[in-house]
């Protein structure tokens, strides 16, 4: 439970940084893509969400393993 709480806290910090990166760096570009090149936007959208799923799953699994090892 303690490991999970720490995982949640570390994850929250990482996600906050990610919010600013995604929203500020990709926001304008995605908006232009959505209005001008719908087909490319559709492809990019699915790649982004699938890529984020794989990366975040790896991050949370790694975090949990590291923290569980530390508190064992």
């Amino acid at each position: 439970m303690r490991a999970f709480a720490v995982e949640l806290a570390v994850y929250a910090v990482l996600v906050t940084c990610y919010f600013f990166l995604v929203l500020h760096l990709l926001g304008e570009w995605l908006y232009r893509l959505e209005t001008q090149h719908r087909y490319i936007y559709a492809g990019v959208a699915i790649l982004l969400i699938a890529g984020q799923a794989v990366v975040l799953d790896a991050v949370t699994t790694l975090l949990f393993r590291l923290l569980r090892g530390r508190w064992r």
Binding site: I49, A50, L56, D57, T60
Partner: protein, 305 residues
Amino acid sequence: MFFPISHADINPIYLAIIGFLIGILGGFFGVGGSFIAGPALRLMGVDWNYAVGTDLAHIVGKSIVAAKQHRALGNVDLKLGLIMALGTIGGAECGAQLIQALKRSGHVNTVVSYVAIVVYTGIAAFMLWESQKTLRTYKSPSKISGGIDPKKDRSAFGPVTRTIQRLKIWPMIALPTSGITISLWTIVLVAFVGGLFSGFLGGGAGYIRMPSMVYVLGVPTHLAVGTDLFEIVISASYGTITHAIKGNVDILIALVMHTGAVIGAQIGVVATQYFTGPKIRLAFVPLPLIGAAIVIYTLMTGHKL
């Protein structure tokens, strides 16, 4: 924070929390959580067509994580999931076309709201009746030492399920993982109906497909949860692409929601190991009702909270 694609102003923390809650529900019940996500986005002033498309995109990411976890627990019937994906894609396209027609006529918000209320309430009422009857009939659920046997599942709807399984319409498909043999057309029809609701109301339509897999196909609840998630990855990906092409996806909202869903899904998957099938189905009952309540509130007030 302003999201330019859907022209919506939403707090990203609200989106991450919604994603987290939906992640728990998805991991536990094998549903995309669109009956919560769609209305929750609508509540923030996002148009239904964007709520539907964006929710599908978010579900792709969340289901990848949850399906991977369920696969590790042996809760995924790959053969069934792949067959269902075909029917779902056909249904999802029909649903998306209906949304387009309603968008052109200018009635998309009203019609989808009314359909959502009827569907969500109907599912909740049926599952409440069935799970309670099952729990009353079978007082002591089958258990094996150290946990719950996922292959032993009971349902008050069992006689109807067995009649459907006895329909010998060629070709018959054997599904050893789920322990059933059933007509290909029954699987495709169940998947098509799920896909239709997926394209029309958004999400993976797990609220239709998960109960259908249990009651119509006779798949054990634990396997239905995992297989549904696997199937959702394929069908929701298709739904996301088709809705994005039609201009109904705000991927930025989906990405933010998904950050919360990743953690939630992990909690939900682990929790399934501690409950029997009928109890999971009984716990499912309030969820569509919450979705219906949010839609009714949005309809009555006509604006966000």
